[in-house]
Amino acid sequence: MPDSIDIPPVVVTATVNGERVSRAVEPRMNLVDFLREELELTGSHIGCEHGVCGACTVRVDGTIVRGCLMLAVQADGAEVLTIEGLSESGEIADLQENFKTRNAAQCGFCTPGMLMTAAELLAENPGAGRTEIRQHISGNFCRCTGYQAIVDAIEETGRNRGEK
């Protein structure tokens, strides 16, 4: 019998999108399941559960992580930001607008992870060129677009930020 069945829940307390939350969860629960199932923040998606597709990307203490590779208990005491919080803060309003006008989201399943990843690049290096942008998002699988619209949207956002 798998061990985890008998292990008692552990309390995880974290600040998620600026709100302090506390939940008793199984120690094996990963962060993205915690966000989706316990907090009902369903904007972070699950595409592979083994760290390849990037659909579960969220920000923990200022750095992006794969929510399926991190356990919820590891986020105890951390600041977690999901696409919902990132949207409401207005931090990526320009990027979202460019995703919209460039048609950089089709089914939208990769989009929250893609925006999270792009937001990081734009914060670090708004002047990134197309090759750098492609490299930076190459851990985020998109099955629908040709990636080109996504690269366009990120490039345009960086250009506009640079001009400000």
Binding site: P2, G51, K100, Q106, C107, F109, F141, R143
Partner: protein, 794 residues
């Protein structure tokens, strides 16, 4: 009524057709506020997990589920036999594919499992983790059987026969023989021959398949939330196999995280999930995980083809002759069948060219691997790659330029309407115009000069072209004629609300390609409102007009046309009642920018909001003998042609590293003729996304199997998909030959990219390797295979 001036959607002032307006429904997806099926929780919902066969072929001697039943949180454990008691089996054949056979298939294996991954036992628990834990506690006593995995060997006399009653593993065979092929080969100046292998790959939608089933025994009502492309088709299937009336089944499809033909079939685990809610009387959710998806989703392609082409001295193609074999797993998929893919290969090969002699054999073979069925561009990548590789091969044998040989053989643009040698009727195609347009985008002479120069320094670059045709917007000749509950028609209902907003409901679904945007643009144009006034409703069998859904690039061509016609009807209704209010003749009025205006001057007479207010709240001010209507439904089904064929031409520019075998994509160009373009922004990224999926098949994606039928790379780390860093920018151009079967003139654009890319890349790689005497006829062209072709590895 209807005495307003006749205008087509194209003549309307304030038209949104042909404009790159953003998609109306994208905002929520950008804010993480979409509703994908896995985002939904229903009261008392439980979670299903399936124990799947670890063997490709094995008898189930016994199942002991006692420990699983006692495990924490478990609500029930059910075998295939128990599920089968609730549900009729299905047979995945189409009657117009004559002679095709496939035995009844049950949702889960009963006494014998026939592929690794076939569902065997269903476990339902409070959480998915608990259900997965309990799956591990189920004990199955297996007796492994010899398996027929290799599709070619599956036809050998000594191969294990998967369905004993058939005597062998042949599912279907079709032969086409037109003209005098033997005479043509005898006369040929040059005959080229190749043996092609196209690997088995799969769809890898980023959102896996997803379903929540909910049975209300008090009303005998089954509600299914599902990530699907065809809600009405699924409604018909659930109803039929559970013995329910169709109105007792409601299929709701919220946001869909990519589909590409993966989510348009009948999967045993999904049907079983509907049975589980009936057994437990609680909502049941089932979301396969990624590794499960690799053996539970349909696979696609996998063909081996022996092909030859006869060519005259001047480059004229005299004949094509090929023998195609494809393996489809142990059953033909229901309800589309697994025969359509090869049928397309037989129908489409050679389609862009004038060919008078044509012979082809297609064989569909049962084997112990996952089921194979229609995935984006069904058969097109195979037909196009084979045909285009042969054309390049012939050009090379004749010492002719690859563009010149195509120019010589492409059907002239003024020859349409015409038919292909296989009897496919074409309305209007534009191969020469498309090729000319492409050559205006590609500096062909420059690329050739660069190629020469690069070779001097040991750098091998190649240029590959691919001309193609694409099946879109099918009529009932595709599936309905074969007896499948798949509607070729689709409907759109338009309703003007009391504030002058337009509510649009349609049977097509949105899975990211922009179906809702197209409906919105067409409806806005036909009625005369601005897009911000529009609300689109799709994906619910209870509230949308009946329709086939979204597949085979049919949304724009079919539902788009229904929206145009419904728009005209609603506009007539509005003008009629406005005419009464304004004491004006309806034909002297028009609707522009949300208001009724004088047709001549454009001066506003009354807003649509005011029309709505009067109609709904103050009908007492209208004549007593008059009843207004502000709702119209129209359907459209293609009638003139069985398919709205489109055409396109691709060009790929690659560099092959002859030391590592890695193919680098330098540039890519496509010209596509999909008729009237409703939204260039959407079409172009649709084409690009399609090309990228074609690149996946050409260079990376393959489900690798052991001889025993064990999948070796069933996860996203080992199964490679195209990622951003390796993908080129893709330039897209358009030629427009409107569809004469509709007012809108639109055809589909969803699959041409995927259909053409493998051919263009194959030709580009071979062009690069030409001076080294290496030639590849296999997809994917992995580094190892490139090196093997170069003789650099075993």
């Amino acid at each position: 009524m209807a005495d307003s001036p006749v205008v087509t959607v194209h003549d309307r002032p304030n038209s949104y057709i042909g404009r790159s307006v953003p998609r109306p429904n994208v905002q929520r997806l950008l804010h993480g506020r979409g509703t994908f099926t896995d985002d939904i929780k229903l009261p008392r919902m439980v979670h299903a997990a399936y124990l799947r066969s670890p063997f490709a072929h094995a008898d189930i001697k016994s199942i002991n589920a006692d420990a699983a039943k006692a495990a924490p949180g478990v609500a029930g454990v059910f075998t295939g036999k128990e599920i089968a008691e609730l549900c009729e089996p299905w047979v995945g054949v189409l009657s117009h594919l004559e002679g095709m056979r496939s035995p009844p298939q049950y949702p889960m294996a009963i006494d014998r499992a026939r592929w690794q991954g076939e569902p065997v036992v269903a476990v339902v628990a409070e959480t998915r983790a608990q259900a997965e834990d309990a799956v591990e506690l189920v004990e199955v006593d297996w007796a492994e059987l010899p398996a027929a995995c290799d599709m070619t060997a599956a036809l050998d006399a000594d191969a294990p026969v998967i369905h004993e009653e058939y005597g062998n593993n042949l599912c279907w065979e079709r032969i086409v023989d037109e003209g005098d092929v033997d005479a043509a080969f005898d006369q040929a100046a040059v005959v080229v021959e190749d043996e092609f292998t196209f690997g088995r790959h799969t769809g890898v939608t980023l959102e896996p398949r997803a379903i929540i089933s909910s049975w209300d025994p008090s009303e005998e009502q089954l509600t299914v939330y599902m990530s699907t492309q065809g809600p009405h088709m699924l409604q018909a299937i659930f109803a039929k196999h559970f013995g329910l009336e169709e109105h007792r089944v409601r299929v709701i499809c919220k946001d869909v995280g990519g589909a590409f033909g993966i989510k348009v079939h009948t999967y045993g685990d999904e049907i079983a999930t509907a049975a589980l809610t009936m057994l437990l009387k609680r909502p049941v959710k089932f979301i396969p995980d990624r590794m499960e998806s690799f053996t539970a989703d349909i696979h696609a392609r996998h063909h081996t083809i022996k092909a030859r082409m006869a060519v005259a001295e001047d480059g004229k193609i005299l004949a094509i002759d090929f023998d195609d074999l494809t393996g489809i797993g142990p059953y033909s998929m229901y309800p589309r069948s697994s025969g359509i893919e090869i049928n397309q290969v037989l129908n489409l090969t050679g389609g862009p060219y004038t060919i008078e002699n044509y012979r082809a054999r297609g064989r569909v073979v049962f084997q112990n691997k996952p089921l194979m069925c229609q995935y984006r561009a069904v058969g097109h990548p195979i037909a196009t790659a084979m045909q285009e590789a042969l054309v390049d091969h012939a050009a090379q044998a004749l010492g002719m330029d690859v563009v010149e040989i195509r120019e010589k053989n492409l059907v002239p643009d003024d020859a349409y309407p015409t038919k292909s040698i296989t009897g496919m009727p074409f309305d209007k195609l534009s191969h020469h115009a498309a090729k000319d347009k492409l050559l205006g985008m590609v500096d062909y002479a420059g690329l050739r000069a660069d190629q020469e120069k690069a070779r001097e320094s040991g750098i091998y670059r190649g240029i590959g072209f691919a001309c193609m045709i694409e099946v879109t917007s099918p009529s009932p000749m595709f599936y309905g004629v074969g007896g499948a509950p798949i509607s070729a028609q689709d409907g759109v209902t338009l309703r003007l609300d009391a504030k002058g907003n337009l509510i649009v409901a349609s049977g097509v679904t949105e899975q990211g390609q922009g179906a809702e945007a197209v409906l919105s643009q067409v409806a806005a144009t036909a009625v005369g409102v601005t897009p911000d006034k529009i609300k689109i409703i799709t994906g619910d069998t209870e509230i949308t007009p009946y329709g086939g859904g979204t597949w085979a690039s049919r949304g724009t061509g079919i539902a788009g046309e229904a929206a145009a016609q419904a728009g005209h009807a609603l506009r007539d209704q509005v003008l009629e009642v406005a005419g009464i209010m304004l004491q004006s003749e309806p034909r002297k009025l028009d609707i522009r920018d949300n208001a009724v205006v004088d047709a001549d001057t454009g001066n506003e007479r009354i807003s649509l909001a005011e029309v709505g207010r009067v109609v709904y709240y103050r009908a007492d001010t209208l004549p007593k003998d008059y009843q207004s209507e502000l709702i119209a439904t129209r359907h459209h089904v293609p009638k003139k042609f069985p398919f709205a064929f489109t055409n396109g031409i691709h060009c790929s520019h690659v560099e092959v590293d002859v030391d590592t075998g890695v193919v680098k994509l330098l540039n890519y160009w496509v010209v596509e003729d999909c008729g009237t373009v409703i939204n260039p922004l959407l079409v172009e990224e649709q084409v690009r996304g399609g090309v990228i999926q074609g690149i996946g098949g050409a260079l990376y994606e393959e489900c690798l199997y052991s001889d025993e039928g064990q999948l070796l790379n069933g996860n996203l780390a080992d199964y490679l998909v195209p990622m951003a860093a390796e993908m080129p920018d893709i330039q897209v151009g358009h030629v427009t030959s409107p569809n004469s079967d509709s007012e809108l003139g639109a055809k589909g654009a969803g699959e041409g990219g995927t259909g053409g890319a493998p051919a263009a890349i194959l030709n580009a790689v071979n062009d690069a390797l030409l001076p080294l005497g290496a030639r590849l006829t296999v997809n994917p062209m992995t580094p190892e295979r490139v090196l093997r072709a170069l003789g650099k590895t075993e």
